[in-house]
Structure formats: structure tokens, C-alpha cells
Symmetry: C2
Subunit: 392 residues, 2 copies
Amino acid sequence: MEPFTQQDYRARQERVREELGRRGLAGLVLFDAISIRYLSGFAFIPTERPIALVLARSGEAGLFVPLLEAEHAKKAPAVDRVRSYPEYPGRRHPMHFLADLVTELGLRGHRLGADRMRYGGFGYRGPSLAELGVAREWLDAGDVVETMRLVKEPKEIEVIRECARWGDLAHRKLQEYSGPGRREMDVASRASREATAAMMAALGPDFRPEGQTGAHAGFRGQIGPNSALPHAVNLNLAMSPGDTLVTGAGAEIWGYHSELERTMFVAEPSAEQRRFFQHMLNLQDIALEAIRPGRTCADVDREVERYFEEHGLMPYWRHHSGHNIGLNYHEPPFLDVGDETPIEPGMLFTVEPGLYVEGLGGFRHSDTVLVTDTGIEFVSHYPRDLDSLIVG
Amino acid sequence: MEPFTQQDYRARQERVREELGRRGLAGLVLFDAISIRYLSGFAFIPTERPIALVLARSGEAGLFVPLLEAEHAKKAPAVDRVRSYPEYPGRRHPMHFLADLVTELGLRGHRLGADRMRYGGFGYRGPSLAELGVAREWLDAGDVVETMRLVKEPKEIEVIRECARWGDLAHRKLQEYSGPGRREMDVASRASREATAAMMAALGPDFRPEGQTGAHAGFRGQIGPNSALPHAVNLNLAMSPGDTLVTGAGAEIWGYHSELERTMFVAEPSAEQRRFFQHMLNLQDIALEAIRPGRTCADVDREVERYFEEHGLMPYWRHHSGHNIGLNYHEPPFLDVGDETPIEPGMLFTVEPGLYVEGLGGFRHSDTVLVTDTGIEFVSHYPRDLDSLIVG
């Protein structure tokens, strides 16, 4: 697998510049760490020290960083100029150095866009972009990069397929190690570490992860009755016969993610568990079949909602049917009744309608799928049927 | 170790209310996930679905959450009212449900504070608080909780001491497994998993982590010449004789963190490595001795800066001397020439002046210390001398 190249990043920057032209903007300031990585290849951990990428419509890409990131920033694949400030808060506020960079790039006095008007984060204090007095006008242009990221590039899809491969392995191990008396953190950490080791061995010694690379699988506290709380946090619960489990697995490579979730049962499920499991499978089938170019995200979620309503299941409904996935776990568009974005080939979706039954548990599978010209293709690969998902 | 109780959270809410009174504000809206946890005990993973805590000066604490968090939110230790919305984006924008909650709490038409004026995050779109038309005026009040968190409560200090204990163990293992030919991810993951397992065994089966609990130790790519880049990202480099290593270790319990970092050498260091190591130790000693009540954060960093200047070391300077630590890794105040915050007993600091030499490596120890009535007390415990830090 080849890393993204300077050419990949320059092509993205070019698309941004074309959009700036359409909007009559001379440049764009981005604070979002993931958008900066997407456009320049500069990967970093955001803190109270502000970092920004400034793209001039004329062509240059400038990075604004604290001194401790300056050497690292100069090595970024697609950056023409690095302007660093000594520290935050420092003797002169960092934002004045950002104003200097805007000037150096020939953008002073022009109309500029930004993804947010003020750098944020706990413990940070500073002026807004408008207060710097460096531009004629600032416009919200956070949607420029967001829109580019709706449809994935072929290489991005390849990387996410690789993520899914190792997420699937982590999940296989998670299932293998689950059972009565087993504890959340033991099972999750063993599965995650073994899958990560296999992944690193397969990627080889020359592979450079550049970040939080690894495979992971776990439960986020969704064990037994507690699985009725979606998106719960790790509680290190022990598993007992009769428990419904809701899992989550994936991997991260170069900042990209995949998602796979399964409903499993510890020992033989009850008739009630079987019934909700089957409804959940039906719902996922409806969503999987509804996703295709020419329809909207809302269309898909409305079909799912109709099944909920027709079967009297709305008391168990808690969330929409899925979301796009890529550099963020959750990306727009959303498979949601309120999202009228047209579905296009090259979009990725998690497909995960769920049912949550107090006292009994949660019922949710999630698969990552790719939109093709005619429908979808699975990116995650794991058995979906009940008999394959009984542990212990 | 006892978890934080309803009483702990209520006492914090009471302090917020007193401050709202002083500022003439009828209520406060907080979007920051960590501030919400700090004040209510509600721990969650932030996404594009907005969540907020609304505190009324009259006494009530209301949580605004998506439906999928509603049951979880009702179990939070110090919350009087939960107002949920179906989904984001949904048929009616979630922010209108937040406006409903503001009304229910009797705050409509009053002057209110908020930690930010607009919920953010990639893929989210929505109105600002002002655009909801629910308050007479909105004031930036992000500093209310920030100020409370400058000085830690005794129980918070106890939890952070516990974090440090397991971070120290993870580091001992990291050192033990490091050596020529060893690879970053193998060493880091083995040390982290073993220390986490020991920590969970010690905390016992009744311990509820409620989140990303665990001990960790690693390098973030700071191996050999690459250690000259502070805050780099994982590169999975292999270690070679002569390499300078810069480590990082800590643990997380109930959202709290500790920090321990060491400069180590693979095999015998050169005279040059020894020389920079000694300067680094001297700088850390200066900072450790300078921290005491009655001085400011800037005083400490200025003394460190003076040593850099007097020894011609400014070319190797890249960042300030340290930061407060707690629920965030980096919290204000900062040991920085630009931060005039007075040092007070009960503050915690990482103490970590560093030197970065291109081609040779980085030289930085970091210890977590507690400010006492007369000086400091170490919270992390690990050898600092060179002879103790040679591996392989």
C-alpha cells in the first residue's frame, strides 16, 4: 500500500482553489486538524497551541505552527511555507504570527474564507480572525473541504478497505475470546493487540503509520442490559450467560477508519432476543437495499423508519441509519430523515439501524459499505446471521 | 478509591452558580464534553450530535442530549432534567430543543453565559446560540469552569496520583522492553497492555472505569534523530545503538491523566549526548525549584529561559517549561513567559523544559508535580539520572 503523495495533496489543494475562485475568495484558513492533514499531509495532535493551514488562491500553501512543530511541518508533503511562533501564550500572541503569514501570502486586505472564526479548545484564549484586522472580510467556508470529502478517492477507498480487513480480524478475535465470566477490557485488549500485531507484521517494517495506527475491537460497556445504551463508555463488565453483546471493531491507517459492529449472545438467546435480532437484521437489509445513486440519504432512513412504524417498534428506536466514514469516524452525509444529500458512487456509509430494549439489551449490526454505480459493495466482511454470533 | 459522588458534582455546580451571580448571569450553557463531565458526572464521546449542560442560577442542572444518550444521561450523578432530541440533523434542528430546555429552566429572555457561541465539529451545521432568540444576551463565560479547574480538589489529586502510579509502572516496562532492534509499537503495546492489566487487577472487579481507562507508555516516533521533533507521531521505528529516545507514559482514570517522560539512550551515550542530557537535567532542576506559591507561571519559565540564554542554548529551545494537567492533558495555566497566573497550592504541573538537537535527538524529562504550601511534591516517581536510563 503506497502512502498518499505530494501529487495527491496538490490535486486536493487545486480543487480547493477552484472553489475559492467560484466564491470570490482570495484564500482559505483552516484550523481543523483533519482537514489540514487531508490537504497537506501534515499530521499532528491538536493542543492549546493553534495550528492553521492557509491556502492562497494564487497557489501557495502555508502552515502556521508553534516552533516545536516547525521542523515536522517543513517535512510535510505539500507545504510551500512554514511560519512558526515561539509558544502559546508567549510574549506576542500566536494569532499575530498567523496574520503575518496571511500577509506573506499576499492575502492582506482580501476577502478570505475560514472553517471557523476563532481557534478554540480548553485553555486557549485569543482574538478571532476578524479581530486581527488582516482581511477585508471573513466568510464561513467550512463546507469547502467537507464537500470534497463526501465522495472518497480510489486511494482513500483502498486504505479504508485495508482498515476493514484488520478490523474484521480484530472482531474475529473478540468473538473468540468472549464468553461467560470474561471481562470487557481483557477480551478487548487481547483482541486489539493481537490484530494490531498481525496488521503491523503484514504491512511490513517499511510501513510508516504516522499516527494512531492499529486495529481495535471492544464493547464500550454494551454488555447485557447495558447494551441497551448505545454509545456507552467502557465499564469493564463481566459477561454472563443470556447477555446480549454489542461490539465495535475497526482499524486506523494514516488517519482513516472503518467500522464493523455485531450483536452477539452469550450462550443460547431467548425467544425475545431472537425476535429483536431478526427485526434488526430486517432493518439492516432494508437500509442496505435502499442505498444507491439517484436516491437521497433521507430516502434510506425513511424506509427504515417505515419498518419501525409498521411493526410497532418506535419505542425501541434511538438513532438514524448510518453515516459516512473516512478520516473522521462520523462524517456527513448522514443516513437521516433530515439529510437530503443525494447518494453518489464513491461515498462510504456505515449501515446500522438499531433497536434498544430496556432490561434486555441493544440490537445493532454495523457494516461499512461502498456506494457503487448500482447499489453497494461490502467493505467490512463478517457473518450477520444469529447462529454465527453465539459465544460461550 | 471512591468515585466522585453526587455531592462532589453538586458542590462544583454551586461554585458555578455563585460565579454566575457575581456576573449577573441567570444561567450557563456548556458544550465542552470535559466541562460537562466535571460538573455533572455525565461522560460521553462527542460527535456531530450536539450535547450541552445548562445550569440555572436558581439551582437546576439540565442535560440536552440526542435520544441515544437519554437513558445514559438520566443516570448521571448530578442532573435534574434531561431534554432529548430525536437525531442530528433530524426533521427539526437539535438546537431548537436546546432552546426548549432553556425555556423549561426559566431562563428565556435572561442574560446567559456560554463556553462557546456555536456548537462545532466536522460535519455539523447549525444556528449559533444568538440565532435561537431565546436569551436577552449571550456572554462568553468559558473561563468560569476553566478557572475552577486551575486548582485541583483533594480527591482529584488522589485520582491523579493513582494515574501516576500506573504510568510509572508502564514506563518501567517500556524501559525493560526497549533495546537495539526493538520496534516502537511492539515495545509500547506490550508495556501498555501489561501495565493496564496490573492496574485493573489492583483496582479490582468492582471498579468502573467509565471511559478510556488504562496505562500507556510509548515514544510517539521520538526515536534516534527523530526524537529531535517534539510531539511527533507514532512511526514504528526500530531502535539502534546510539539512539536517543524520548518516552511518554501515564494512565487515565475517570478521565484524569498523569504524565511522565524520560530521555533514554540505547547503549552507551556519546559525550555530546551526555552534555545535552546534563543541560536538560539542570533546566528541569531550575524549573522544579522555581515553582512555589507567591510566584507566577511566567517567573518559572523566565528562569528556565535565562539558563538557555546564558549557556548559548537558545538554538535548541522549542517550547515552554510545562502545563497544568487534569481532565485534559494540557490545561491552563502554562509555565510560559506569557502566563502571569499566580502559582497556588493544589495546582499540578508537568515540568518539562527540553532541548532539541538536529541529527542527534531530543532531551526532555517530564514529571508531574503538585504545588504545596512551600514548593512542590513529585506525583510521578522515576529515576532521573543518566545511568538509570541506558537500555540494551
